[in-house]
Symmetry: C2
Subunit: 232 residues, 2 copies
């Protein structure tokens, strides 16, 4: 059971980073790999803790966030299958500066970072995988700084909806976001209060840019949303 889940990860090309390993190395990975299930809202790791595992999301959704002033939370990144996370702090030789928790019940895998590091030394491609990921994330964070500080509420919420679409996509109807999140999380993603997330969302509904049915959000006019995100 554990092995089969790993075989899936190892074989899928999304997880191509392990396919380059062979023989002995692959065996060591398989032996060290551990499967975990997390329930909705369960914490994977918390800010301040010491990082020692590489995490991979196999099924479900995970958010990386930071608790700020007065319990206000900022969502920094969204994780989808099959993405890796939890390694940055280890590489920086510092405690986690953010936390990770499951949005919905999820299946994760973990590997000891010490093993990952060791394999990276003998395997340059593995190192390049992380260089690429870190570089993309850093660009994303730098962009987020300006988006969150300079855009107005409408722009920030529009941006958040686009981010949700880009991360989790649409359902079969090609318009319903494939993630159902609370208004509070939506607010935490776009740096505003829950009230304002609700209000602004209603505004978009009134303008026929989206449709809302509980937590199901259908995007009627993605073009317009991108426009608002850009200039709003």
């Amino acid at each position: 059971m554990i092995k089969s889940a790993l075989e899936k990860v190892v074989s899928e090309d999304l997880a191509a980073i392990w396919t380059i390993l062979e023989g002995e190395e692959k065996r060591r990975i398989i032996d060290a790999f551990t499967l975990h299930t997390f329930r909705k809202n369960q914490i994977v790791y918390a800010e301040g803790e010491n990082p020692d595992h590489l995490w991979v999301l196999l099924k479900g959704k995970v958010k990386i966030f930071k608790d700020g002033i007065g319990g206000r939370q900022q969502i920094l990144r969204l994780i989808r299958p099959v993405q890796y996370f939890g390694y940055r702090a280890y590489f920086a030789r510092e405690p986690y500066v953010s936390s990770a928790s499951a949005f919905e019940s999820s299946t994760l895998g973990s590997l000891p970072m010490s093993l990952v590091e060791e394999l990276m030394h003998g395997n340059n491609k593995l190192a390049w995988f992380f260089i690429h990921e870190l570089s993309r994330n850093l660009g994303g964070s730098d962009t987020k700084i300006v988006n969150l500080t300079q855009k107005h509420i409408r722009g920030r919420l529009a941006e958040a909806l686009i981010v949700l679409k880009d991360n989790y996509g649409y359902e079969d109807d090609d318009s319903t976001l494939r993630i159902y999140m609370s208004r509070e999380d939506l607010a935490n993603l776009s740096n505003m209060t829950t009230s304002n997330a609700i209000r602004t969302l209603s505004g978009f509904v009134a303008e026929k840019i989206i449709t809302v049915d509980g937590r199901r959000i259908r995007i009627l006019n993605e073009q317009m949303l991108r426009k608002i995100s850009k200039f709003g």
Copy 2:
């Protein structure tokens, strides 16, 4: 002249990443290395351009920033000698998402990223250098997101002053910041208008936390500044 500046870089332990190279490799670096001088406010690279060089600041001060809504600029990072920058976008295979310019007249070196990348493939330590740098920067950016979005003006300015101190240090009197920047740049660092940077700075002076003489800022009570930065 060019060679001697490089010898300095190559030999100093701050630039230890090159000391691990030897013979042929070191020669190739020396041949490809180019010296540049930039005048105050001169652009090193601009957002949207394609990255093809690794930059190293040898003397002076450089800011990494992003132009936002209505020409409002956000300073993302400060560079001091001997720090490397400009590589993130190349590794991410995307255009620059930010720009770099000299704060004051500065001396920089550059190396083609293609050469750096090539050497990294044969030299794991070089790869690790960038993994470490990227990881630290990403942690910094994630923290900045929350600092800039959730702290109040006083907290953000106090934080900015601490950042200046941590980056460029004090002069011989152990209290004057070793960087003189315009109120506007101070504002761009802490996400506020120039007026508010001036006003808040005056507030700190009135509270005897700092002293201001034109662009010279003396920090009288660093402890208090850290406190304001943390809770303000």
